[in-house]
Symmetry: C4
Subunit: 285 residues, 4 copies
Amino acid sequence: MPDDLSDIRYQVALANRLLANEGVLDAFGHVSMRHPGDPGRYLLSRSRSPGLIEADDVLEFTLDSGPVEPPSVQLYAERVIHGCIYQARPDVMAVCHHHAPAVMPFCIAGVPIVPVFHLGAAGGETMPFWNQRDEFGDTNLLVVKPEEGRSLARALGSYAAVLMNHHGATVVGRDLRELVSRSIFMCHNAEYQLRAQLLGAQISGKVPTLTAGETRLAGVINAMPNVTNRTWEYWTLRLDKVGGLPPRAKARPRAASVQGKTSRKMPSRKATARGRSGGKKARTR
Amino acid sequence: MPDDLSDIRYQVALANRLLANEGVLDAFGHVSMRHPGDPGRYLLSRSRSPGLIEADDVLEFTLDSGPVEPPSVQLYAERVIHGCIYQARPDVMAVCHHHAPAVMPFCIAGVPIVPVFHLGAAGGETMPFWNQRDEFGDTNLLVVKPEEGRSLARALGSYAAVLMNHHGATVVGRDLRELVSRSIFMCHNAEYQLRAQLLGAQISGKVPTLTAGETRLAGVINAMPNVTNRTWEYWTLRLDKVGGLPPRAKARPRAASVQGKTSRKMPSRKATARGRSGGKKARTR
Amino acid sequence: MPDDLSDIRYQVALANRLLANEGVLDAFGHVSMRHPGDPGRYLLSRSRSPGLIEADDVLEFTLDSGPVEPPSVQLYAERVIHGCIYQARPDVMAVCHHHAPAVMPFCIAGVPIVPVFHLGAAGGETMPFWNQRDEFGDTNLLVVKPEEGRSLARALGSYAAVLMNHHGATVVGRDLRELVSRSIFMCHNAEYQLRAQLLGAQISGKVPTLTAGETRLAGVINAMPNVTNRTWEYWTLRLDKVGGLPPRAKARPRAASVQGKTSRKMPSRKATARGRSGGKKARTR
Amino acid sequence: MPDDLSDIRYQVALANRLLANEGVLDAFGHVSMRHPGDPGRYLLSRSRSPGLIEADDVLEFTLDSGPVEPPSVQLYAERVIHGCIYQARPDVMAVCHHHAPAVMPFCIAGVPIVPVFHLGAAGGETMPFWNQRDEFGDTNLLVVKPEEGRSLARALGSYAAVLMNHHGATVVGRDLRELVSRSIFMCHNAEYQLRAQLLGAQISGKVPTLTAGETRLAGVINAMPNVTNRTWEYWTLRLDKVGGLPPRAKARPRAASVQGKTSRKMPSRKATARGRSGGKKARTR
């Protein structure tokens, strides 16, 4: 667990970039994390494409999705997705909203995503479907109003993810690593489910799924730290290979004193942190 | 808005390369822009694959698609597509003709592309279908004669894009950024529509679409400058990452004096322009 | 047209690499060219994956597919494909045998590839299907014996390409550029045809094709040098971008005197040739 | 055949990386090799994503899948897959367990993979299907217990590969090169089979396959060293192109004296080995 907010900001930026590099996020979508020291706040980037986010872009918000400090930059219009879920789900520490190509056909056709392979169990046995129309009629499909965010959070209930009609999905996790892993494997699961359905259409017309017991047991394994750490390392090195890691955060006004002193006292700290998170140093190994 | 024609030429070259890098254009296809100072002219490259176009390749044409200056290079055979649409649609400031793999199955099967996700609303509720055969019988399918261009423009009518039987699509926009955004999201929409249809075939045999109201409301959002600027920045940085940005225009006879003087007086201008458009400088950030 | 055999060898190597880079060839497959000065010979690489071929790998064969000089290297087992087609088709100057992923489903399902878009007309209105079993029963599916090569050439007849049951395809052209263009667009055509069939299955169950007249007219355009030169330039620059161009041929015993003298007399020639074929020099433009 | 264990370890690491680079392995999956000097042992990496494995990660195990030396690192949970197969199949010298996207739809839909093209014959005429549920009921789907490994080995029988319900596949070979080749072509075969079935669904609803005779004859050709060597060279150069070759092994305690002496006596040996396996040296050719 990183030990100061500047490193937390770096991890949030990294999570956004990992998911962009694996095809879950593109020009849009966003990953947030609940403030590790204050459950009434969360951390989310200013409005920017996820693959470009740097630690300094990551700002603090209260759970009603207002910025803690007056912002000088543009904010994501859909940040109520994050705030409303953190309010409704005390167990959730990280949230991702995305429009991944793999899940879009399901969001459009209204077909549920079901667990079809062991890693897909990360998404749970059931994935609810939220249709914004039911409560709000014709909208631009963005989740912008607090009542829209609350409605989405209600649809999510106690599940791991919720599909959004003609729009995308929102995924939650107990930490950033579980969230990233679950988001990626949910996309793999969707891909395989679509292809398995096409392949088996002439046999039964229905895709065989994991049993409830298999889903629970495989889900437990998938969430174990040795699994989510291994995948985090793997995706980080893939991102590093294409030069996509976020630059290390520059000193920020509020964090300057702490970070500054640390750097001066322990000049080797920065290099260590880089090595740990697969930074530039790692490329020469 | 760039302040002289040499920068406009650069933007046209950039738009071509952005669309090539995102898989909309390949060896063929082209993007034009109406002359910002003279609505009776438009800017289009000499005949060249879009991913290779440089600012100096971009020439001026009158709306009957004749080159303003006698050309020493080969011109696109299909430039009447651009001229005829600029004649028929005073609101259109940019045109793209392409054969993107995502739309070809629709052009071949004769299946309409319909809005199936919020960003796909950029293409509008309806996309007309032009069958060259109806008026011209057997042709080589290229749109070369003025009467073919006019027929296509009539089929386009007041819509955002038109599908062309066994050939491709032509998309229009109110500026280059809206055009690029619309062209790319139209391809994503087509991909998702095809997959949603395959996925849901056994349920209803029909792909659910956005409602008319949703399409209108989401379409408005998609066309807002903060959205098209963000996607333009995102695609530009993706292009830069693979070394694909157009080189800055060299001085041209007609533009030489202006550009030359500027460069000599303000040596930092070039660097500034580069930074703004995501050039080499941006890589070191 | 290059003016000595060493440049011809380079062009054959380049054609192999272009098709490998565009996904037509992989570990296997090969491109040959009829000897420009002796219609009774053809040029084909020693046995090597097409993406790795260098000019020096390209050897001369007689039309019965024997090597003109005793080889010190391994030869392709299937070179009778080339020899037998050059014997049967005096108009053919270049041959490509491949197992492209795009065509394999057609070779397996026994479904004909038909022209479905203007560039796909390069493959002609009809593409015959050769089933090795019909004449030879159970084989390892390779075309190794002269009688197998002759049977394949008979099936090809006067067409542009022939599909081979459970194996791949063989394509012919009147020069290397037409061959490369036709091979690539045949793959695009197959991709679009498959997807158009899936898309339209519920409408008619049949993919609409170009008319015979459209296929003929579009085919003429596709084969025009300004088209095949433009695509050749485009694919060469794509190959150059990933560092895939063949190295310039080193002097070979037989070609040494000619090439050596030329180089000494006209030191700028090599650079010119490089520029023309999209070599290293081109990268700095 | 490499002549000391340090080179063997390098080959195992390389095989893992080749399969990762070709899309067979990702964050998970693993390749092992039977100890060339002791049929009662096998070589497998410590728990690590296959694309990151280095020679030093490769450890020795007995056939009951216990590590020969007490490990200081984490081990793969599923290594009984390897041990149990080496016990049951004396002819098998290399094993790969994977979850390749190409085979997952078959593992999910319960549809057999059948040989549909000449290179796909490498997988044999029949590929058994193992359903862990049949013997073990609800599990997390991992193969961790010895009785699970033995059950899987029984299902594999004398075949070349076995599909695992909702999980993936396990492939065997008589050496690393045959294994790698078979694993990759099995994925190509699965891709083509799925697409051929979609394409031909309206004709017969069944995918035509190779005959038993064709499968046997093509299978013999596919396993010949000149074929598996050529594909190994091809995939190694593709891996090298993206900078993915494993670093040469550093001296290990046990291997230090042998390797150290060799290096000192024959300084050119390392370069030779690199050239052979497509190392850094190869890039400059």
